[in-house]
């Protein structure tokens, strides 16, 4: 029998289906595919499914199914992976104004890595980042793919308020804060896009399993988009 997936109990209503034990785009791709297939061919008793870095978390109604049955049906469903056409992942483009008041730690990130702020921006905007998972705050993307040239430790003392839209770096991760929240990431810029807008029907901009790119914009465009978004 294959080692993966591994089925673990997460209480009496949750089943955690692990597809690996590391952060790996191939593992995440498999999860995205199983997630999309189970959306298309709903399994009886599943009330909610959540794709994560390396697992699919499945909530179920114990009155309608059992973990044994779910396990069988999920394994069966995965056989469709070869047959079903899975839509390609989207690539979201996130406009960012870098440095200055929008990215107060840009200089520090540059200095820490022995490069210029311009180089930080060039490297940051040349990457394509996999959205492994959303969470922490509504719509917050856990991204993979940051260049090792930009790895920077967290702030020693976290800020009490990081404004929504802030783009930051923490160790080997980069991300965007969807709402004002406390945080210790090094801030290099800010996007005027709302990653979380509860007034919209699709309140969350991004999707797990898709990709994200950052695009540099001047301050004037930041202000223009910000107005549109509000």
């Amino acid at each position: 029998m294959e080692k993966w997936p591994r089925f673990l109990f997460a209480g009496d209503r949750g089943l955690l289906v692990e597809y690996g034990d590391r952060i790996d785009p191939e593992i995440n791709k498999r999860i995205r595919e199983v997630f999309l297939i189970q959306e298309k061919f709903p399994i009886q008793g599943i009330t909610e499914a959540v794709p994560t870095y390396r697992s699919l978390l499945v909530f179920y109604d114990p009155g309608k199914t059992s973990p044994d049955r779910l396990q069988k049906e999920l394994l069966e469903l995965e056989k469709k992976r070869g047959e079903e056409t899975i839509p390609s992942p989207e690539i979201f483009e996130i406009p960012v104004v870098y440095g200055g008041e929008y990215g107060p730690d840009l200089e520090f990130v540059a200095k820490h890595n022995g490069i210029t702020p311009e180089e930080v921006i060039t490297i940051h905007t040349s990457g394509t980042y996999l959205i492994y998972m959303l969470g922490f705050t509504p719509g917050f993307p856990f991204l993979g793919g940051l260049s090792a040239k930009l790895f920077t430790p967290r702030l020693k003392t976290p800020r009490t308020v990081v404004p929504a839209g802030s783009v930051g770096i923490a160790n080997n991760q980069t991300g965007v804060y969807p709402i004002d929240s406390p945080g210790g990431w090094q801030l290099i810029g800010r996007t005027p896009m709302k990653l979380y807008n509860p007034k919209k029907k699709n309140s969350i901009l991004l999707k797990a399993g898709s990709y994200l790119r950052f695009k540099r914009i001047p301050e004037a465009e930041y202000k223009r988009i910000l107005q549109e978004e509000n």
Partner: protein, 313 residues
């Protein structure tokens, strides 16, 4: 229809229904009432469907002025509710009229009380739920705790006064509950630690809210040589995290992801009992098998069904 005006909001009062589901993949936690049973019964008492929105009051209840005719029922923790300064019973539906003042004299037992109103609390649903999500600023009234001056609307239905829950169904809300859990998903990060977890008593610390309950007690040790954290994954209500310091945290309903190992998960039917403990109370854990948990789940569903049938007669 405006039904209640908040004169004084109490310690932590929010509008909650049974939760917002399907959005955890976007980082939005379920929220909803912590003690699902009490909230469901409060709704059934006033003649609502059991998943209508109610007020969840914590430790110190609010003071409310009634603005129009209606029916209320209060269930859950004993916060000594009163109408116009005379005590009223819990687990009973009571008619109220404009000018009445609903208040609470103080906590006697439990932690969270539920106030249901005939017709249901009629704030607009957001993403399919009326539950307040404070960090996400959605649901309830402007996505926040109630404040003085808020007007709480209700649905059109009047409700069913004079209904009473038979005492056999009223939960005991002990200050030292035995909470049943299913081990995992990361129980394989522990060996001796599992014994510490199941054989000790833990005290609810002052850091206890709708996101989670931090507990004080003996340190739960991880296996020698294992990582003490995992790749971040979504949180399930009831998950019991053991951070590197070895002091457990029971996750409740407003968490999205976490990177700590989870030694066990509280069974869904016992989560309300956790939410009815307050700082200083003591909790013990008992491991049950999944089949047993599902048996308990189905008994609980049967009990609610029985109550529903009883109250609709």
């Amino acid at each position: 229809m405006e039904f209640l005006e908040v004169i004084q909001p109490g310690f932590y009062t929010t509008i909650q229904d049974q939760g917002r589901f399907g959005y955890l993949q976007f980082g939005i936690p379920p929220c909803g009432v912590v003690d699902s049973f009490a909230a469901k019964v409060s709704n059934l008492l006033v003649g609502n469907l059991m998943d209508e929105a109610v007020l969840e009051a914590t430790v110190m209840g609010p003071t409310l002025r009634v603005l129009s005719e209606g029916v209320i029922a209060i269930a859950g923790a004993e916060l000594s509710p009163q109408i116009n300064d005379s005590s009223i019973p819990l687990w009973e539906s009571i008619p109220v009229k404009p000018g009445d003042k609903i208040g609470f004299k103080g906590l006697k037992k439990g932690c969270r009380a539920y106030i249901a109103v005939g017709g249901g609390i009629a704030v607009p649903p957001v993403m399919g739920s009326r539950s307040t999500y404070v960090a996400g600023k959605i649901g309830g009234i402007e996505g926040r705790l109630l404040v003085a001056g808020d007007k709480i609307p209700k649905g059109e239905k009047y409700g069913t006064p004079g209904k009473r829950l038979p005492s056999e169904f009223i939960p005991a809300y002990p200050a030292h509950p035995m909470i049943r859990v299913i081990l995992g998903p990361q129980d394989d990060f522990f060996d001796e630690g599992i014994r510490t977890f199941l054989e000790s008593e833990f005290k609810v610390s002052p850091k206890a809210d709708r996101m989670g309950y931090r507990l004080d007690g003996p340190t739960i040790l991880h296996k020698a040589g294992v990582e003490k954290s995992i790749i971040s994954e979504p949180s399930v209500p009831g998950g019991i995290q053991v951070p590197p310091d070895g002091l457990p945290i029971i996750l409740l309903v407003e968490q999205t992801v976490g990177g700590y190992t989870k030694i066990a998960t509280v069974i869904s039917t016992d989560l309300g009992a956790v939410g009815q403990t307050k700082p200083g109370d003591r909790i013990r854990f008992q491991a049950v098998k999944i089949k047993e948990a599902h048996q308990i789940y189905s008994e609980e569903a049967g009990k609610i069904e029985k109550i529903k049938n009883f109250l609709s007669n």
